[in-house]
């Protein structure tokens, strides 16, 4: 596979660093999506009820 970083003019170390950083953001995003999704499903009826009953 072609070294994307090299094509863009960066060293192998720079490419690895970029992949790690962007990968960490992506992983956090996926975890948050799933985690908050479960939280929203669990709490949504209660929140809607609380807001509607007020």
């Amino acid at each position: 596979m072609a070294d994307v970083g090299a094509l863009l003019g960066a060293s192998g170390e720079g490419t690895m660093q970029a992949v790690t950083l962007v990968g960490a953001v992506l992983v956090e995003a996926m975890i948050l999506y799933v985690g908050y999704g479960a939280l929203t499903r669990a709490l949504e009826p209660t929140v809607r009820k609380a807001l509607g009953d007020e």
């Binding site: 720079g14 970029a18 992949v19 960490a24 995003a29 908050y36 999704g37």
Partner: protein, 343 residues
Amino acid sequence: MLEILGIGAPTLALFVGFGLLIGILFGFFGMGGSFLVTPALLVMGYPSRVAVGSGLAFVFGTSVIATLKHRDLGQVDYKLGVLMIAGTTLGIEVGKEIVLHLETLGLAGNIISVTYVVLLGGIGVFVTYESLKGGGGGGVDHDADAEVDGDDIPDIAKKIQSYRVPPMISLRGGISVSLWMILGVAFATGLLSGFLGVGGGFIRMPALFYLIGVPVPIAVGTDLFEIVFSGGIGSFLYAMDGGVDLSIVLPLLAGSALGARVGSAATSIVDESEIKVYFGLMLLGGSIAVAIREIGGYLEMPVFDTVSLVLILGSALLVSGMVIYSSIVEIRKESVTQSTTAD
């Protein structure tokens, strides 16, 4: 003092809270990420490279979450998204070349600032005017799969849809537009995006609605889908030079992920025409803020930077507050209607 990720607890709380605010706007309108984060980081004293790189990484993460949420609601048109990416990428390249050419002439800074202020302000005035006028641009159907009512399509979009140059592309919402028109709009928005050095959500989302006639929820979802790619590539390029700081991005993302859920869910509850006027005013606030910052730079008075930031944050707080307020009002109305029906 307690430190997490190498930053103090108050800064961490500030980032999470700020992320929540931005997430609501991002989830609801499909824009507002780098436009808000980068200036805030610059005023906090972070170097430009870190402010821009971390801003892009944050936009990437938030757009991944918001796109997944909009996908669940059936509000992403992948075919349109891929076509828009192709046209936008070409536009960005041409925009970047124009900037490089202007730089050699020593005119880049001034022309870019003036264009940014005029464009942001112009779109702000247009959106506010259309919302206050009602009718044409105001009506929005929240059902992504419903056929678009002819009255809901803006006049400019009707004109663009009337050019039936083959091949014609069928889009969600039952509309059909020439491939060349889509690529033309994508190229134009990419050109502006590359020229101004911004993600371009504030240009693309209104362009998808006003120029192509895509229903607003699908325009937002498709715009977010495109930002996943532009934000991902942008943050990768900055990360190679150490421009992405995870101690900024991770807490911002933790807040915005929750905000994006609230904002995306609100698109199915709130009548967008109520909110659109605030969206227009936020863009106007943003254009005035950029103008103030430029004047501050010209006069060498840093206090203008702070005024600019307060104006941006104030506008964002106002609009996200309105999204939450309108959602609560709608939920209460729904609850009253259900109780009445049950009685």
